[in-house]
């Protein structure tokens, strides 16, 4: 490289410095204090700030001991995204902006549990790779845990990293596209494939994937299997799944998966452990249902991240885990305290919204902004909402049947198969159940299945008089639709459809 190019590059980087410094300060503890949070909230934030750093430093220390300094440096070199985890407090800072009391605390708590959960994933990934099995994100690894395997959800970092840092997935998306993956595919499989291509993923000894939720995700495993060159089992959920015949087929498939895992790993199925996990799941389901009952009341005692972020991690990654159960118990306590004292999560609650389709990963704080700007409060979302029953833990067969049902009737899976009613009915059911004022569709450009339902949904909402915002964005890539553009779409909707004024203009009017 010529010296002039180096100087030009350096100059170009220098021009970003003021912006980067400003962003760093805004996301730091100093930035938190500078926004004038009350001392109680600041103390809670400080507590979690310290706990997050303590957990990270503990993990670093543990890794140096287990892997050795060179091994740890090598792990960081091969998985540079690990460093993004250091931004967890910055993300908490952004998400708590404008929030106080229990609502504020619940978000700090959830971010902390996610921080601990990611660290657990890193332990599983780095400390015992010989027992590591890769799972696709919609095959919860409850069975893997019951077998005593180390498990890693391949798409997990494609989901978590953009929440911590908006641009985290971009180098991986570019890598996948440059290697020939179709640019119009969903950016989550693109990011996952990109991470595999760059060698930033653990390989494991075996892999379990599925036909869920979408074509791009399922098809990407042909490539991933070739890249990893490890044996792969694929679970196949039928299209019509609300019937006994489908449940039987799926349970048989899952049984096949267990036998296959026993064949390809040194571990064996422990049904007592599976029972504990299923009972833990049931407990979480019970607690979450209680939370929903409380938030269905106007004004909601907790909302937004307390609902969706907690579910997306704890039900999909660590369902049944004692930490996840404790989190839900704490959320219930917080919600109940607000509920009984008639304290709203946010004093600004004017409109109650449901978010349909995947959440805005790289712009997780858009609901925070919408709350502060228009009083729009996210009450529940399609990734969280479900109405399946608990798992019958009487016998291995009942567990398999009901666990399979939980997967097939879980969020995303049931909305991407079966007739249109599977997708639409939940929306209208939620409107009734949660006393909602509007529907927001997260119109992810890569999600063709969702895009193709917008026409019907628009007409159905119009017929029922339900305001509908179809908000264009890309799941993990803000270059497709910028944050500013997303906020403008909300503004147009609020001003033209809802005839709502910004909260800061209401006084002036």
């Amino acid at each position: 490289m010529k010296i002039n190019t180096v100087i030009d590059n350096a100059k170009s980087k220098m021009t970003d410095l003021p912006y980067l410094t400003k962003r760093f300060l805004r996301n730091s503890w100093a930035g938190y204090l500078a926004r004038g949070a009350n001392p109680r909230d600041a103390a809670v934030f400080a507590k979690y700030w310290i706990m997050n750093w303590a957990a990270i430093l503990h993990w670093i220390g543990q890794s140096i001991v287990k892997l050795g300094p060179i091994g740890f440096t090598r792990a960081l070199y091969h998985n540079p995204w690990i460093l993004i985890l250091l931004r967890v407090n910055g993300a908490s800072n952004r998400l708590t902006l404008g929030r106080s009391g229990m609502y504020h605390d619940s978000i700090c708590l959830i971010m902390h549990t996610i921080c601990l959960g990611v660290i657990d994933q890193l332990r599983q990934m780095l400390f015992d790779p010989k027992r590591l099995v890769i799972f696709e994100d919609l095959v919860p690894y409850d069975i893997g845990r019951a077998m005593g395997l180390n498990c890693y959800l391949l798409e997990l970092m494609g989901i978590v990293l953009p929440i911590l840092y908006s641009d985290a997935s971009l180098p991986y998306i570019d890598e996948a596209e440059n290697s020939g993956m179709n640019p119009d595919a969903c950016s989550l499989p693109k990011a996952t494939v990109g991470m595999v291509l760059k060698g930033h993923m653990p390989k494991g000894v075996a892999m379990v994937s599925s036909n869920m939720p979408c074509d791009a995700g399922a098809a990407s495993y042909a490539f991933i299997q070739r890249a990893f060159n490890i044996p792969t089992y694929r679970v196949d959920a039928p299209y019509h799944f609300y019937n006994e015949r489908a449940e039987k087929l799926f349970a048989k498939d899952v049984k096949g998966m267990i036998a296959w895992l026993e064949q390809h790993t040194p571990c064996r199925m422990d049904w007592d452990r599976m029972r504990e996990i299923c009972e833990g799941r049931n407990r979480m389901l019970e607690l979450e249902t209680e939370l929903w009952e409380m938030i269905s009341v106007k004004p909601a005692p907790l909302a937004s991240e307390a609902v969706w972020l907690s579910h997306i991690w704890h039900f999909n990654v660590t369902a049944g885990h004692s930490r996840s159960i404790k989190l839900y118990e704490k959320l219930i306590k917080m919600a109940r305290r607000n509920y009984e004292n008639k304290i709203a999560a946010t004093k600004n609650e004017r409109y109650r919204a449901v978010l349909w389709n995947p959440p805005f990963l790289h712009f997780g704080d858009i609901f925070n902004w919408a709350e502060r700007t228009y009083g729009v409060v996210l009450i529940n979302d399609s990734m969280t909402y479900n109405h399946h029953g608990p798992i019958d833990t009487t016998s291995p067969d009942t567990m398999l049947r009901d666990w399979g049902r939980t997967v097939m009737q879980g969020p995303m899976v049931r909305h991407t198969r079966g007739p249109a009613e599977d997708y639409l009915d939940d929306i209208f059911r939620m409107i009734e159940q949660f006393n909602l004022d509007m529907v927001w569709v997260a119109n992810h450009v890569g999600c063709k299945g969702g895009q193709a339902m917008n026409g019907i949904l628009r007409e159905r909402c119009r017929a029922k008089g339900i305001p509908l915002l179809i908000l264009d964005y890309d799941l993990s890539d803000r270059r497709i639709v910028s944050h500013d553009n997303m906020m403008r779409q909300v503004e147009f909707f609020m001003e033209n459809v809802m005839k709502a004024k910004r909260l800061d203009q209401q006084g002036a009017a």
């Binding site: 290697s179 020939g180 993956m181 179709n182 119009d184 595919a185 969903c186 499989p189 494939v193 994937s209 599925s210 036909n211 979408c214 074509d215 791009a216 399922a218 098809a219 990407s220 495993y221 042909a222 490539f223 299997q225 070739r226 694929r234 196949d236 039928p238 299209y239 019509h240 015949r245 087929l249 048989k252 498939d253 991407t416 198969r417 007739p419 249109a420 450009v445 063709k448 299945g449 895009q451 193709a452 339902m453 917008n454 026409g455 019907i456």
Partner: protein, 379 residues
């Protein structure tokens, strides 16, 4: 290079001008029942029982998809959008029943939108598994039985075991005839171009089999009197999803390529396999048949089969290069193409990957790319 179109070729061309050709109209006048389908995982033989006959959906001459875009969005594959546009324009007014497969999310949502917008009286979705084993084979056989029972109840047709066996035999006669023409393409100087062959196949798929079979047999006779094509630069194979318009192949061949093998949804390899009729369960025979005759990236465990089929065809048909055509927004082929192209190139097989729309467009660009591809092979 092109042979002068004979009498039968003109018939095939004419049959492809309309989504419901005159043979379909003639069969309907005779009291027969056309059942539409759009995916290779539907066994045609099942829809050939008694008075039924299958019509593969295509949209010749589609110009725009404005209405379909409103419902399906412009991010859905243009084949599905074209179908919905024609459905909304009542261009399939003769069709009495619709069979869909949730082969991909696009097809699945096409079914949903059609159901919502047109409420067809017979609209069935066949739940085809995405992997093949004893359990899914059983499931597929049950799915076919459910469909057969529904057809029998709705149309009053005979879907008995004997009727289905007869239909499978008719399919086998038909498939053998088409295959025998396809076999000619293995010759060093085949008497038929890829364009002609595709015209014949598409016309056959869009017509009642018994009515088009005499025309195909005439074409066979015509071919036996023809000289082989000597003037071509490279023998090509076309691989990919739905390819209906023979003009796409004509353009490839206009640059000196001779398309000798078709490994796409409406192609004959292995789309026109015969059905192995054995045992007492015709549904199981048909289930085995569809899993064998269709090779789609929707099948999760069949990447190696997809790859090896192409490699085998390359050897068998002495193919110089593979043209991989993918309809824009098709996630299945779009994602699968990445390892497929790499694997083929690793095996020394030249590949041209083309992203295209369902209807023919960008002809100049297509010509240039094919020309460059042939030159890159040193032909």
């Amino acid at each position: 290079m092109m042979a002068t179109p004979g009498k039968t070729m003109k018939i095939f061309e004419e049959l492809l001008e309309s989504p419901q050709n005159r043979l379909v109209e003639q069969a309907v006048k005779d009291g027969r029942i056309p059942i539409a389908y759009s995916c290779s995982y539907v066994p045609e033989a099942l829809l050939m029982a008694d008075k039924l006959f299958p019509v593969r959906l295509h949209t010749p001459g589609v110009t725009g998809t404005e209405i379909a875009d409103n419902y399906l969005s412009s991010f859905v594959c243009s084949y599905c959008r074209s179908l919905l546009e024609f459905i909304m324009d009542d261009r399939f007014d003769q069709i009495k029943g619709w069979i869909s497969v949730p082969a991909c999310i696009h097809m699945q949502r096409l079914y949903d939108n059609m159901e919502y917008l047109k409420h067809p009286t017979f609209n069935h979705i066949l739940d085809v598994p995405r992997k093949v084993n004893e359990d899914t084979l059983e499931w597929m056989a049950e799915e076919l039985k459910i469909l057969a029972d529904k057809l029998a109840a709705h149309f009053g047709v005979d879907m008995s075991e004997a009727s289905l066996k007869k239909a499978m035999q008719v399919w086998n006669y038909f498939a053998v005839d088409v295959q025998s023409i396809g076999e000619l393409r293995k010759e060093p100087n085949p008497p038929i171009t890829g364009t002609e062959f595709h015209q014949m196949v598409m016309a056959a798929l869009a017509s009642p089999k018994d009515l088009i079979l005499p025309v195909i047999r005439d074409f066979q006779k015509e071919l036996s009197a023809r000289e082989g094509i000597k003037k071509y630069r490279a023998r090509l194979m076309v691989v990919g999803g739905h390819l209906h318009d023979p003009e796409f192949i004509r353009i490839i061949e206009s640059q000196g390529g001779l398309v000798v093998a078709d490994r796409f949804c409406t192609g004959t390899i292995p789309g026109f396999e015969t059905i192995k009729i054995n045992g007492t369960n015709p549904y199981k025979n048909m289930a085995q048949h569809v899993f064998q005759k269709a090779i789609c990236p929707r099948m999760m465990e069949e990447f190696d089969r997809r790859l090896n089929t192409i490699v085998d065809i390359v050897k068998e048909y002495r193919v110089d290069g593979v043209v991989l055509e993918i309809i824009k927004f098709c996630d299945l082929w779009g994602v699968d193409a990445m390892p497929l192209v790499t694997a083929l190139r690793e095996k020394g097989i030249p590949v041209l990957k083309l992203e295209r729309e369902y209807r023919l467009g960008g002809e100049g660009q297509l010509r240039t790319r094919v020309q460059a591809f042939i030159e890159s092979m040193g032909k």
